[in-house]
Every structure is written in C-alpha cells, then in structure tokens.
C-alpha cells in the first residue's frame, strides 16, 4: 500500500512573544550589526535571546493511503501545529515532509465563506479553495445540498445565515467532495446534535470507504469510533503510535497517573485568580474514592463513587457561620458541566463548619458514561464566595452495568444514565392478566384517599387470558407501594402469608388487607407483579394512586415526619428504670390530626 503522508524528523519552532513586535528599525539594526559588526553601538543592550518554543520536535511517521489516524494529546501537545503543517499552511523549521494527494482541511469551518455571496457561490468557492474544479463541484452539488439540508436558502447571501447554517454548509462541502486526504480538527464540537451525529456517520462511511484521514480530538470517544490507529502527542513529541485501543488505554492510564501525581497532599488545587488568598476558607484538594472509601481514579458506570473535598482556613472567619454551600461540578472532556451537585440541596446548612475538614459527596450509582472527567468546585460561606477551583485532576469512567441488565449504554447515545423503566402499555398478552388495582376503605367502598393508620384494602383483580400450559403449582403476587420519588416503601409478597394460592381461579380478585396503613403522608403508586411457578407472568403499573394524609398512627396525636419516617412501625420507647404501663388509649380514627411535627 502506498504512503499518503510521510513525515521525517519534523520540528517546528516558534519564537515566543516577539512575533510582529519588531519595528523596521530593529531589523535595520540587525542588518547593520550583521553586515558591519564594527559599527555595533557600544551602548546597545546585549541582545536578549528570544525565548524559543519547540511546538514539535522530531516527529516521524507515515500514513498509508486509506488509513484513518487519530491524533490525541492534551492542550499544547502540538496537535494543531502538526495539522497546520500537514495542511501546508505553515512550513516545518526542520525535517522533511511528503504529502501525496489533495488535502482537504476543515480546521475551522466556514472561514472561507464570503458573506456577500450566496450559499451556492460559496459552495463553489469553498470547493475551489479545497482544490476542486468547477466540473467536479457541479457533479457533487446536489449531494452537498442534500447533506446540508439548505435547499431553501442556497441562493441567499451567506451573511444572512445563522452560524449553525454556515457550519452545516461548510462541513457538507468538505465531507461530500472527498479530498484524497481529509484533516479534521475538533469540528464536531459545533452544530446541533443531530447534525453532529450525521457528520460522524459520514466520516465513518468515508473512513470505511478507503479515505485517508487524520482526525484530531481531545475526546477518546470520537477517536476510537473513527480511527484504526492513533498517534499520541505529548509536549511536541510522539509519545505513542499504534493500535487505537492500545494507545487510548495508555492515554487513559496516563491520566490516572496524573491523578496520582496530583494526590491531595502535594496537589494544591488550581485557584482562579484572586479568590483564595483574601478569603477565610480555601479548597485544598479533591480526591475520588470508591465505594469502600479507598482512593481511586477509575470507576465503572453504575458504581458507587465518593468525592472528598478537603478544605482549610486562611484566617478565622470572624462572623458566626450559619450557612455553608459547596458546589461541585463534574465536567466532560469538552469542559461542559454534566452534573452539578449543590450541597445545599441535600444538606441545607452544612454546619457546624470546622476550620479544616473534608466534605464528601457520595454518588450511590455513578451515572457517567465512559470517558475522562474533571471537576470544578466553589465554596461559599454565608452566601459569600470563598474559593473557586478547577483542580488538575481527572477521573476515568469505564463501561459499567448501570441498569443491572448486563448491558452498557452507548456514550454516543446518552451522556448520563438515569434510572428508568419501559413497558408496553395496553398490549400485554400474558397467560393471566392483571386487570385493575382498587383501594377500599374500612366500609368496603372504593377510595383513593386515606389517613395514616386507617384500615386499607388493596384489591387486585385478574383474569385468565390464554392460560398457562403447565399445571399451576404456585402463585405469588407482589404488590409494591412506591412513593413520589420512585422509591419502594412497602413491598408485600403474597407468599409470605399465603404460600401457594392453589387452586387458582380463572378470574378473581386478590386482596391485600392492611389493618393499619403505615404510610406517611404523601402520594403513592402501585407496582403489581404476578408470578406463577416462580416465573413472571404479568407486571402492572396502574394509573391510580393512593393519597395518604397525616393520621395518628401512634395514638399520640402526632404524625411522623415523612422525610424522616417514610413508614410507621409499631414501637415503644422508654427509660429502662421506669417503664410506663401503657400508651394512652387510641382515639377515634376520624378525628383530624394536625401535621404537628415539631415533637416527632
């Protein structure tokens, strides 16, 4: 296979800070000093050696025709410089470079557009800049238009386009005309999600169709999706070059090492200017820990994760502290906030607040998808911002089984996992079908509203649908009461009280009777499942809800606080020395009870 791009010991040097600051006189003096050294002004200051910066150093690699290569590396690794060299926008300081084929670049889309021209004219102009002839563009024009979905606006001047439309048009030109070598630099960070996905797909098609391509990204996700080989640049040199999986894995590991290097004790967090030294409190470090509290930089989706934030004080705060808020953001590779955790949502005050300590955030089930993530933190005391930091730490998330189904979600489909369920409504065809769930009060009448401690009957009617082929040996019905946050509060399994339910009539109603409803005030829904011979036959989530109001469960005229006690259980409480004989006698159930929770 022939070589499309060949680099041999390429280096690129930049002079720092001096570009274009020279005046004509400086050049004249340089020239005079070079040509007539004797005339050199004696008083002239010694020539300040210009600080140099090698953006690239001894880069050598070959890219074969038809290969799609990814270029990864942190900021300042030299990716953009390398791309500029390959795009022949600039020339290497030393080294040899051979490029065989027409290079199409999309370094920053749309920069070649002229605002006064129509979309059509710009397509031709852009194509011509990319080296296409007019005839070639003619033959591709309809395809470009279809891809950009801009039929309506193609004869409108581009200056009236929205930025999104420009990007679409620019990408379409570059994607459709198929340059022999395609160079892409993070372009996919633009455009709406649908179009981005379309672009990625197009690049995949091109890559599988033998297109030579070089794709630059911070995002391992995109690179591993598109490329068969990855070159990892670090500080202007090639750190690793090889198979995508191997290089991406090493790259990830290096990020973990970085995390270890920046361990709490010797990694002062990077403070945003001027906000740390003159505040009473400062954030010292951040550490990620696994479910057992051990420091870890790598997690799986769905695993428990703990983020420990250490803080200390510069000087005493002076005033009484009545509210402390710590806000933790988890950022993705592009720096977008995916998760924001505000301590005041779960802990309104976070007081008493010692001068130094650790605030831990616990995420029981990490919803993040595969990737590298970083943090940003902000600490406020009494509403006043104390410190804001972006720690130089990363943590990695690997594919994990969030849903407990043995399947992992695709990162390109969802950035976060959320708990959800999904079922087919109204089209169930089980052997036996749950028809309805009804709640009845003490008089046997259907009711939806109850008080805590009221007697309650939940009637689940069912009917035979097509029946079970095997004989029914055991029937179990499970009834769950779910509160408005989706948590199961009460689970009732019929087999606990009625082991078999055999014989099982074709059509009847199964009743769950609760002599004293233990639920705290709130709204509840049901989840019913029917098992036969230990197999799920039907699952049912009725639309009906159960409304519970404060009731006097304990006969003490006090109602339990729902946030503290979601379910009431019978209990007693006494000092061992003098046990009271009896609780006060229960009153009539219909007597209203106020939601007095101060003594609860």
């Amino acid at each position: 296979m022939s070589i499309a791009i060949s680099l041999h010991n390429i280096s690129k040097r930049y002079r720092l800070g001096t570009v274009n600051q020279r005046m004509f006189l400086d050049d004249l003096r340089d020239w005079r000093d070079r040509t007539f050294p004797r005339l050199k002004a004696k008083t002239a200051p010694a020539p300040v050696s210009t600080p140099e910066f090698w953006a690239l150093k001894d880069i050598s690699f070959d890219i074969k025709k038809g290969e799609t290569v990814g270029l990864i590396g942190t900021n300042g690794a030299g990716k953009s410089t390398l791309l500029k060299l390959l795009a022949r926008v600039t020339t290497p300081t030393t080294g040899e470079m051979v490029i065989d084929g027409r290079v199409g670049t999309l370094l920053e889309v749309g920069s070649g557009f002229h605002p006064e021209l129509t979309g059509r004219d710009n397509v031709y102009l852009n194509g011509a800049v990319l080296g296409m002839s007019r005839v070639e563009i003619d033959s591709k024009f309809d395809e470009i238009l279809d891809f950009a979905e801009l039929h309506q606006f193609i004869d409108t001047p581009v200056k009236r386009y929205s930025s999104g439309m420009r990007v679409r048009l620019a990408f379409s030109v570059a994607a459709i005309i198929e340059p022999e070598i395609m160079i892409l630099d993070e372009v996919l960070a633009v455009g709406d999600l649908g179009f981005r996905e379309k672009c990625l797909h197009r690049i995949e098609v091109l890559a599988s169709g033998g297109q030579t391509g070089l794709f630059v990204s911070h995002s391992i996700g995109h690179v591993s999706r598109l490329c068969s080989r990855v070159i990892w640049l670090e500080k202007g040199r090639i750190r690793m070059d090889g198979d995508t999986d191997a290089v991406c894995e090493e790259y990830r590991k290096a990020q973990i090492i970085k995390l270890a290097v920046h361990a709490p004790s010797h990694a002062p967090a990077l403070h945003l200017a001027g906000e740390s030294s003159n505040s009473a409190y400062r954030i010292l470090s951040i550490e990620t820990r696994d479910g057992l509290g051990r420091p870890s930089g790598s997690f799986r989706t769905g695993e428990p994760c703990r983020i420990a934030v250490k803080y200390g004080s510069n000087f005493p705060f002076g005033q009484p502290i009545d509210k402390v808020t710590l806000r933790l953001s988890i950022l993705n590779e592009q720096g977008n906030r995916l998760i924001g955790l505000d301590s005041s949502l779960v802990k309104p005050k976070l007081t008493p607040f010692p001068d130094a300590g650790t605030v831990s955030f616990v995420i029981p089930k990490l919803p993040l998808m595969e990737g590298t993530y970083s943090f940003s933190l902000a600490l406020s005391v009494n509403g006043e911002l104390m410190d804001k930091v972006i720690p130089e730490t990363f943590f990695l998330v690997k594919e994990g089984d969030f849903y407990g189904t043995g399947r992992a979600a695709s990162p390109s489909f969802t950035p976060l996992c959320v708990d959800f369920s999904c079922f087919l409504e109204g089209e169930r065809n089980p052997a036996y079908k749950i028809l309805n769930v009804e709640t009845r009060n003490s008089r046997g009448q259907a009711a939806a509203s109850f008080r805590t401690a009221d007697p309650c009957l939940i009637a689940v009617s069912y009917a035979k649908n097509h029946g079970l082929e095997e004989p029914i040996r055991k029937v179990t019905m499970r009834l769950s009461l779910v509160n408005d946050t989706g948590a199961r509060v009460v689970g009732m399994d019929s087999s606990l009280v009625k082991p078999l339910f055999v014989p099982f009539p074709d059509e009847d109603t199964i009743c769950f009777e609760l002599p004293k409803l233990p639920l705290a005030a709130g709204m509840y829904s049901f989840v019913v499942s029917l098992f036969m011979n230990a197999e799920v036959i039907d699952e049912y989530v009725p639309d009906s809800v159960l409304i519970v109001e404060n009731g006097d469960f304990y006969g003490t005229r006090r109602a339990a606080l729902p946030g503290f006690a979601p379910v009431c259980v019978e209990f007693d409480c006494y000092l061992e020395g003098r046990k009271e004989q009896h609780p006060p006698p229960p009153r009539a159930l219909s007597e209203p009870v106020t939601g007095d929770t101060t003594h609860a």
Partner: protein, 264 residues
C-alpha cells in the same frame, strides 16, 4: 514550473475569486458596475477643468479630454492592481491561516479583475475617441496599435511585481500599509498622467527614464493618437525594470507565504 502547473490546477479558484470580488464590490450599491464607468469620467472631467482650464498645461495637441482619459485608464489599471495585490495577505488572512492553496492565485485573480474593469473603461475611452475623431480632432491612429496588448500585459506584470513585493513586506512591517496609498498618489504625479513628457524639464528626464510606467503611458498615447514622447530604448529599459521588479516581487511573495501563518 511546479508552481505554475499548480496554479493552472487551481484556475477555477481564480475564476471564482474574480467573480466573488466583482459581486462583493457591487453588492448593496444602487448603481452597481455603473460606477466603473463613472469613476474615470469624474476624474477626467476634474483633470480637464483643473489642469487644462486653470493651470493650462499643454497636452501635445491631443484633445485634453482624451489626453487625460488615456492616462487615467492606464493609471487606474496599474494602481488598481498594485493597491489590491499589496493587501493580499492582510485581507485574506482568515483563509490563508486555515488552508493551503497556491497563494499566487490571489494576485492573479486581482489582476484579472482589474483587467476586466479596465477593459470596460477602455471601451468608454474608445467611444469618446470615436466621437472626437468624427469631430475632426487631430488624431492619428496607426498600425502601432498592435502593441497595445503588449502594453497591457506589461502594466499587469508591473502591478503584480510591485504589489507582491509590498504584500510580502507588509507581512513584516505593517507600517507599509499606511504608506501604500500616499505613495501611489505620489507616483502618479511623476508618471505623465496629466502632463506630457515633452514638458518635463531636462534635469528631471532621468526620473522619467527609470519610472517604468511613463513609457507605457506615452506609448499608449503614441499608438492611438500619434502624439507621444517615447524612444524604443526607453521602453526597453521600462520592460527590463518591470521584469526585475516582477522577479523580486514573486521571490519575496514566495518567502512571505511560507512564514505568513506564523507571523500574523
């Protein structure tokens, strides 16, 4: 040689750039391309009033209106190329720093655009020429008109050479941008645009000899109207200067395009 072949490959880009610039200049103007007719006419009328009516400068027996207009057509072509090309890098920087294409396509496209615009002006000039000829003015067209295409090409090359040189230098010294337009103005005063070479005093004639545009203007007038002060050696010197400037300009341009993306 490789450079030339590459430019040929990008010929459609040149064509489209010419079209782009033409549209861009005329968009949102009421009269559009009509301005290309009006501009030289205004200047010609102004020159006729000032230099003929007030200063009373001689015009070598050529009708003053035609005399000034011939100079202006040539000069507009030259200065148009020069000033536009000298901005090659600065006005296209957004594109040049992003993508490779033969940079020389920009000066070439600018030259072609100016050639096209000057052609329109030349046609207007011919219209007036025909009018004056019909009125019996002493015009003596001769077989020498065949050198006019050569003069046009020479003007184009001269404009390109000087333009490229300035464009290359401005990447280093931005100050030059400020100087370009007054310098062009100054150059015009020394280029026999509104006075005949015959009235230049003897001790300034050497200036006329080293100014490559002077023999072009004079030859143009001589070929069309039979009046002009130009020797064949003067024209050859002008041609030599043109070629030298072109070579220097292209060399400097080549060097500038290699480093431009880093210095901007």
């Amino acid at each position: 040689m490789r450079g030339l072949r590459e430019i040929w490959q990008y010929r459609d880009l040149i064509a489209l750039s010419v079209r782009r610039d033409f549209i861009a200049v005329n968009s949102q103007t009421v009269m559009g391309p009509l301005w290309y007719f009006i501009q030289p006419l205004i200047t010609t009328v102004a020159f006729t009033m000032v230099f003929q009516g007030i200063a009373n400068l001689p015009t070598d027996k050529i009708p003053p209106f035609l005399f000034y207009m011939s100079g202006i057509v040539v000069w507009y072509f030259f200065s148009g190329c020069l000033s536009k090309i000298s901005l090659t890098f600065t006005s296209n920087s957004s594109l040049i720093t992003k993508i490779y294409f033969p940079r020389l396509t920009i000066p070439i496209a600018n030259t072609i655009l100016n050639l096209w615009l000057s052609l329109i002006q030349f046609i207007i000039f011919l219209g007036f020429y025909a009018y004056f000829y019909w009125k019996g003015a002493p015009l003596h067209p001769s077989y020498r008109v065949i050198i006019i295409p050569a003069l046009i090409i020479q003007t184009a090359l001269l404009g390109m050479g000087v333009g490229c040189l300035i464009a290359a230098l401005t990447t280093r010294f931005r100050d030059l941008q400020m100087v370009v337009s007054p310098a062009i103005q100054l150059w015009m005063y020394g280029s026999c645009i509104f006075f005949p070479r015959s009235m230049v005093p003897q001790h300034y004639q050497w200036l006329m000899n080293i100014n490559p545009i002077v023999p072009i203007v004079e030859s143009f007038r001589f070929a069309l109207m039979g009046q002009g002060d130009v020797e064949i050696w003067q024209w050859l010197v002008s041609l030599a200067i043109t070629l030298v400037l072109l070579v220097i300009g292209l060399w400097a341009f080549k060097r500038a395009e290699e480093n431009f993306a880093d210095t901007i």
